[in-house]
């Protein structure tokens, strides 16, 4: 189970409190009635599905209820950062950090830090 930092509550909470909410920074076209079928399919169905760094939305549904954004590595499932909704796509704090983090095999999980093991 993932351990997720809510940028509003400023706490690490278990994944049970959160809902994944899809790719972040997808912009709804302003003239949605006017766009072509291809553009609509792109907006509505096509997502990046990256292997590696991904930007995604989460909702702290059983906590503060708010949406926020996260950067995560989809190979290790490690969260690189979370930030508030409405902010533009945030650069990673250190460019090399991602590579270094990706090298690490273990991911801090809820079970290790908060669960029965502790």
């Amino acid at each position: 189970m993932l351990l997720i930092h809510c940028p509003y509550c400023e706490e690490d909470r278990s994944e049970l409190e959160f809902r994944w909410a899809g790719e972040a920074h997808v912009v709804r076209p302003e003239n949605i009635a006017a766009i072509s079928d291809e553009e609509f399919a792109e907006f509505f169905f096509l997502r990046n599905n990256e292997k590696g760094l991904t930007y995604e939305r989460w909702r702290h549904i059983h906590g503060c209820g708010r949406f926020f954004n996260a950067a995560r590595d989809t190979v290790s499932d490690r969260f690189l950062m979370t930030y508030k909704a409405g902010l533009p796509k945030q650069p990673l704090p250190v460019a090399e950090k991602f590579a270094a983090i990706a090298e690490e095999k273990s991911v801090e999980t809820w079970e290790q830090t908060e669960g029965d093991a502790r």
């Binding site: 189970m1 993932l2 994944e15 049970l16 809902r19 994944w20 079928d37 291809e38 609509f40 399919a41 792109e42 509505f44 169905f45 096509l46 997502r47 599905n49 990256e50 292997k51 991904t54 995604e56 995560r72 989809t74 190979v75 290790s76 499932d77 079970e111």
Partner: protein, 417 residues
């Protein structure tokens, strides 16, 4: 290839089993092939086999990043059924089920297809209405599926708890008797052996790192960890990594890769006669011929390529199993693993041409691709050979997300697909 038969066993028994030959070869890749298939799972190997058998194309390479059958083919819970709601789905899954019925003979390889029945439990009035709709749709289409009362279900699966005080009371069930299970590894091995016998090259431990395209945009071949390999046609059958491979050709596909977990118990004597699934409380369970209970859990909610998953997903499924079958509460679970499923927005597969000439895709089988293995492979071979889809797979195009003609099995089959 030497045929497997009772005489072969007798002959080998006489000479201490020293005469068995390797089931397939591991050749070095040629510089080019007529067709390259990316991904040596059941679907990819099967497509190569049917290309060779039914379309006379034998200059084929199946290129695999790991070992054959090591992805989702070797990780699923081996459930076979065809009781889907929509005609597009019934067409392809029933085509597949019919191929399952003769597959062991066709391949001369025992895939252990066992039509032991797939029972789907109904817990509430919504389930009942939905299942009866499925049953009626299936029977009108010539596919077997029948309604059972709780007592009939209990007679079929004696360990099922149908008491009124159960936490998840059961008000009936749908049973497809021709559904069942097969031995997943044998499917990959059987297709590999039969394809290799017809001259197909299976190239394992060779990762595709790029797709090279010509001036007209057409495919020319693939860049791999063993160098460039040319091909006029490329079929991508890469399951959870389909997005990654298709991106190499500049094609975006509407897929989300999610971990899906399964687990098996310690082996026991035969106790469980069929496959039982409950979509509502999310549990599905069968017993393998080795005696292990094979249990499928759900997908994680987020995209991931980690081939693992959250512990809460498994415990949620086991909670349900223990309520439905109280006698399994003291069974020890032995192994757990995850695979990466490729899910489309409408939860139906994509098989068809792509905007890139010479590039064909077979993906999006999500959490239910094993049952489709022979049917999907057979129709994918037709697509690659003819350049256009077989009529049974005509609705599964990539283009349906532009036209809006979706196959909305997401609502029909819920989560256990």
């Amino acid at each position: 290839m030497r045929k497997y038969s009772v005489f072969a066993i007798a002959r080998e028994a006489m000479r201490a089993h020293k005469g068995w030959e390797a089931q397939w070869t591991s050749p070095e890749p040629r510089s080019s092939y007529d067709v390259i298939i990316v991904g040596a799972g059941g679907h990819g190997l099967g497509a190569a086999y049917y290309l060779a058998k039914e379309h006379g194309i034998t200059n084929i390479a199946v290129i695999e990043k790991g070992w054959l059958g090591g992805g989702n083919t070797g990780r699923n819970t081996t459930i076979i059924r065809s009781n889907y709601l929509y005609e597009e789905s019934m067409d392809i899954y029933e085509h597949s089920l019919k191929l399952w019925e003769g597959l062991s003979q066709d391949l001369n390889y025992n895939v252990m297809y066992s039509p032991r029945g797939v029972m789907m439990l109904s817990h509430n009035i919504h389930d009942q209405q939905s299942f009866k709709r499925h049953i009626n749709a299936n029977r009108l289409y010539g596919i077997d599926n029948e309604w059972m009362t709780p007592e009939q279900a209990k007679a079929f699966v004696p360990v099922l708890d149908i008491s009124k005080t159960a936490r998840y009371p059961i008000n009936g069930a749908a049973l497809q008797r021709r559904g069942g299970t097969a031995r997943h590894d044998a499917v990959a091995w059987g297709f590999a052996r039969a394809a290799a016998d017809r001259g197909v090259h299976i190239i394992q431990n060779c990762e595709v790192t790029g797709i090279r395209r010509g001036t007209g945009g057409e495919v020319q071949g693939v860049e791999t960890s063993k160098g460039f390999i040319g091909a006029k046609k490329i079929g991508v059958s890469a399951a959870g990594h389909s997005s990654v491979v298709m991106e190499m050709a500049g094609v975006r596909v509407p897929l989300a890769s999610n971990p899906l977990q399964a687990l098996v118990s310690e082996p026991m004597k035969p106790i469980f006669p069929c496959v039982v699934m409950s979509n509502t409380v999310h549990a599905y369970i069968s017993q393998s011929d080795k005696g292990e209970l094979v249990i499928g859990a759900g997908t994680d909610q987020y995209n991931s390529y980690s081939q693992t998953g959250g512990l809460q997903i498994i415990t949620h499924t086991l909670d349900a199993i223990c309520e439905l079958f109280p006698m399994f509460r003291r069974v020890k679970m032995m192994r757990q693993w995850g695979g990466i499923t490729d899910n489309t927005p409408d939860r139906s597969p994509i098989q068809g041409v792509t905007p890139v000439p010479g590039l064909f895709v077979n993906c999006g089988w999500g959490t239910g691709g094993f049952k489709a293995t022979p049917g999907s492979a057979n129709l994918f071979a037709h697509l690659i050979a003819k350049g256009e889809p077989h009529k049974l797979a005509a609705g599964l195009t990539l283009d349906r997300f532009r036209t809006g003609r979706l196959i909305d099995e997401a609502a029909a089959a819920a989560v256990a697909h």
